[in-house]
């Protein structure tokens, strides 16, 4: 027999070799001095290790003398819960409710914000289908979390049945209805006068002209869209210029460079646009909501106007209230505003003689930046800190391994910063590009959602890293929470500083985002298990 190797000796000494091999070792060791020496040395090492580790030369710390009776008071959880509730209330009362009130003033009178935006079709009927999808994803996520939590209780058969049941459930889901006609221009598309489409019409073309009738929604991607005929549903349009000269039975929702309405819109107009022009002949039955550079409202509007503009001119009839945040506001002599006019801007409004106003314009000078002299501002900072702490707590409890890995990744400053900056800038561009294709819209929405969550989460990981730098590395949930709380407090405190705080906030976002991406990349790349002996 040749000399045996160290692994064989170890397994022999630990009683892990079968009888035959063990006998071979004994026989060889009896005749080989060199192997016998190795055997004795390793045997001695085993004894030495055992004695060193089991030596009782340490006293038990004083705090461990008494037996623990129960868990410590959950003050941390109670504080976190309180701050979380406070944070949620602040966001609700400070952001959502005022916005909802503004929107309600502008004619969006559905029950609540979510219903208004997503579920009642004020933006797009397709949200209904999207909602079902989101509900399914949410339920599936909850189910996965539940399965993960109970994984130790499952035997293989149970796990198999769960997988099979999930698969059957997925197959049993009804396919989504697809009742729309899709057209691609060559390069242009024209629906001739006298022609009628009896369903929704989705068109992507260089130029689109609708002279006929669409008995449903018109959804378009185009350089130029002109509606001379009739659309009985909504017009939802992405393009360079959108012209509505005919009749729209529903809403007009546009994301374009130039919107011109010279015809009739029976419900509402919502535009995110460079320029908006409602011609003198135009009629809008409902509300007008604008986010635009420049706008002229010269036609007749039945409801309210809510506008965020560079400059706005009103020289038409408005049946409701006007709420404007704008650089300039000019009210012409032909203007006739039934309701009140509130204007938040940088310069006083100009009102021509002859203009009819339900009440004088209420002007408020727009103040840039937060009011740092107000105690409320600092109270909000504390609540925002609480909200971010609760968010971090949720990540830590749901995915502790991932949490620690991302925090560790923060140590690699250069690659994380580079990666973070790249994705910080590239993701919105990618989302916009995805919107160009119909198929890509849900992906774009999901991308933006994940992007926003990731940006918010960035502070959690960087905060924990900062906390660890100050207090040292943490093992376990409790110490990590302490470091998280400290780090977030520091970030929040620095962000209060004008200008430098904003810069610091950007660095935190880019850095944390990069660490997040680096970790996800490491999770996704293939891992190779070490070879067995």
């Amino acid at each position: 027999m040749n000399h045996f190797d160290e692994m064989t000796v170890l397994l022999f000494l630990e009683g892990q070799l079968d009888a035959g091999h063990a006998q071979d070792v004994r026989t060889h060791a009896a005749s080989c001095v060199e192997c016998r020496k190795l055997l004795h040395a390793l045997e001695g090492e085993g004894v030495w290790l055992r004695e060193s580790l089991t030596a009782e030369d340490e006293s038990i710390p004083a705090r461990l003398v008494a037996a623990p009776e129960r868990g410590s008071a959950p003050w941390g959880w109670l504080t976190a819960f309180g701050l979380g509730v406070g944070g949620a209330y602040t966001v609700w009362s400070g952001v959502i409710v005022p916005w909802q009130a503004q929107a309600a003033e502008a004619g969006f009178t559905q029950g609540n914000l979510l219903t208004m935006l997503f579920f009642s079709g004020s933006l797009w009927k397709g949200w209904d289908a999207m909602r079902s999808g989101m509900e399914f994803v949410a339920m599936a996520t909850l189910a996965l979390i539940l399965i993960w939590l109970l994984r130790r209780q499952f035997r293989r058969a149970t796990a198999f049945s769960v997988v099979m049941a999930a698969a059957l459930f997925a197959f049993a889901l009804p396919p989504s209805a697809a009742a729309a006609e899709t057209e691609h221009g060559d390069p242009n598309y024209t629906l001739a006068a006298g022609q009628e489409i009896k369903t929704d019409l989705i068109v992507a073309a260089d130029r689109i002209v609708i002279d006929g009738t669409v008995d449903g929604d018109l959804i378009t991607w185009s350089r130029s869209v002109t509606v001379n005929g009739e659309v009985k549903g909504d017009v939802i349009s992405w393009g360079q210029s959108v012209n509505v000269n005919g009749t729209v039975g529903g809403n007009v929702r546009t994301f374009c460079q130039m919107l011109t309405v010279a015809g009739s819109v029976q419900r509402n107009v919502m535009a995110w646009s460079g320029d908006v022009n409602l011609d003198q002949k135009s009629k809008v039955g409902g509300t007008v909501t604008l986010g635009a550079g420049d706008g002229d409202l010269n036609g007749t509007i039945g409801g309210d106007v809510l506008a965020f503009m560079g400059s706005l001119g009103i020289d038409g009839r408005i049946g409701g209230n006007v709420r404007v945040r704008s650089g300039h506001l000019a009210i012409g002599s032909a203007a006739d505003i039934t309701g009140s006019t509130k204007y938040l801007g940088n310069h006083r409004e100009t009102v021509a003689s002859g203009a009819k106003l339900g009440s004088p314009v209420q002007y408020t000078l727009y103040k840039h930046g937060p009011d740092r002299a107000s105690p409320r501002y600092y109270w909000h900072q504390i609540l925002l800190w609480g909200a971010s702490f609760v968010f971090g707590l949720a990540i830590l409890l749901l995915a502790p391994g991932f949490f620690y890995d991302v925090t560790n990744a923060c140590k690699k400053v250069a690659p994380t910063s580079g990666l973070g900056a790249l994705f910080f800038l590239a993701t919105p561009v990618a989302a916009i590009l995805l919107c160009i294709t119909i198929v890509g819209i849900p992906v774009a929405i999901a991308t933006v959602f994940v992007y926003v969550v990731a940006i918010y989460a960035a502070q959690v990981f960087v905060g924990t890293w900062i906390g660890e730098k100050i207090l040292g590395a943490a093992v376990g949930i409790g110490p990590t929470l302490g470091r998280l709380a400290l780090g977030l407090a520091i970030i929040r405190a620095v962000r209060v500083i004008p200008y430098a705080g904003a810069l610091f906030g950007s660095i935190v976002v880019i850095w944390g985002l990069g660490a997040l991406l680096l970790t996800v990349y490491k999770y996704m790349r293939p891992q190779y298990a070490p070879a067995a002996a």
């Binding site: 630990e14 009782e56 623990p68 890995d405």
Partner: protein, 195 residues
């Protein structure tokens, strides 16, 4: 504490007797603390973990199978807890250092090995142990402190049984290097050429 006394104490603890709980704690807390002190990187971690382990023990005492040694069950709870703590924090790092596991090992010189043992106290060995990667340190502690079988170590660390021997051997090499320093490690490894 004799086996009969232990059975009685455990029954009383299950019945909610806080005095029995205190007795059980006083009997096993020092050993548990030492286990945690060797398995975890800092003394503070070990103190926290010892408390947490005993809270778990109290909750899970109903699942203890009296036909098995109580100490073995206790170490099982403790090792799972400590490894869970370490794993949450270090799992990616362990995977990243996976290439170390596949590096060929050099045979030690028995003479050098014996000198190393003679020159280092128990305390120095434990200091060296603290410098090891989590998995290597945990493997040595489970085997040479808790006296766990290869099957139990494999189950705790989530590795194949056949890999436990490799893990222990690598851990021993890493400990030798930690104790000897880089220069001496080279000396230990130099014996490779002679075999």
């Amino acid at each position: 504490m004799s086996a009969t006394e232990l059975v009685e104490v455990l029954a009383n603890v299950r019945a909610g007797d806080s005095e029995a709980w205190g007795e059980l704690y006083r009997r096993y807390a020092p050993a548990m603390f030492r286990f945690c002190r060797r398995a975890l990187p800092t003394a503070e971690d070990a103190e926290d973990a010892t408390t947490e382990i005993f809270m778990k023990v109290r909750q899970k005492l109903g699942t203890y199978d009296a036909s098995r040694p109580f100490t073995a069950w206790l170490y099982k709870v403790a090792s799972n807890h400590c490894w869970d703590l370490l794993r949450r924090r270090r799992i990616r790092q362990d995977l990243e250092t996976g290439d170390i596991e596949t590096m060929p090992l050099e045979h030690p010189d028995p003479g050098q090995l014996e000198r190393l043992q003679a020159e280092h106290s128990s305390k120095e060995v434990r200091t060296g142990l603290a410098k090891l990667p989590d998995r290597a340190r945990m493997a040595l502690v489970l085997r040479y402190y808790s006296d766990m079988s290869y099957d139990e170590i494999a189950e705790t660390l989530g590795v194949r049984r056949a890999f436990v021997g490799v893990l222990l051997l690598r851990a021993r090499h890493q400990l030798r290097e930690a104790l000897a320093g880089s220069g001496a490690a080279g000396e230990l490894g130099a014996a490779a050429g002679r075999r």
